[in-house]
């Protein structure tokens, strides 16, 4: 039954490619930022699934918590930085 976790991990990585396309091709900077936020939240689940597959949940959970904090603060800071600019 561990094959199901493998299948979900591969499907999640392929779904990350879809939002990476929005990060590359977004017409405005806000589309690129939303694609970046989507990548960040998917990476949280991907890290937990990889920890499950490698059998090292104890270290991957800590990595995931710190990654979630850094991703949230980074997206807030980028939104504040671009606020009020006529960004294309």
């Amino acid at each position: 039954m561990e094959g199901f976790v493998y299948a979900v991990t591969i499907g999640l990585a392929l779904t990350m490619l879809l939002s990476f396309f929005r990060l590359l091709a977004g017409p405005t900077v806000w589309d690129r930022l939303s694609g970046l936020g989507l990548l960040g939240t998917k990476t949280i689940v991907l890290l937990l699934l990889l920890g499950r597959l490698f059998g090292r949940e104890d270290i991957f959970v800590d990595i995931t918590l710190s990654y979630a904090l850094i991703s949230f603060i980074g997206s807030l800071a980028l939104a504040k930085y671009f606020e009020g600019k006529e960004a294309k």
Partner: protein
């Protein structure tokens, strides 16, 4: 318990996939933000809850539940900040002609 965890993983993957399709296919920034905010928060919370059920009642399972609480606080906040910053920068919503906007 394992079957319930796998069902939660599959449901969360469905929501995340529909959010990714929405961010590719919807017509303007605000509709894409709508797809991103709701689908992504619910999908990630369901998948992480499934992983916490697979982990069991240990310290790591408690930390994974903490990640769910953090996601539920942080993801709507980030989405709201993005939408407000884009509105203040003058991104016009889809369907509104530029001379009509306030």
């Amino acid at each position: 318990m394992t079957a319930l965890a796998y069902a939660l993983l599959a449901a969360g993957f469905f929501f995340i996939f529909s959010g990714a399709v929405g961010i590719l296919r919807l017509p303007d920034f605000y509709t894409r933000l709508h797809a991103m905010g709701k689908c992504d928060t619910l999908g990630v919370a369901l998948m992480v809850l499934g992983l916490a059920l697979l982990e069991g009642a240990t310290l790591n399972g408690l930390k994974i539940l903490l990640i769910i609480v953090f996601i539920g606080l942080a993801n709507p906040t980030a989405t709201h900040a993005l939408g407000r910053a884009a509105y203040r920068s003058g991104v016009v919503p889809w369907g509104v002609r530029p001379e009509e906007e306030p």
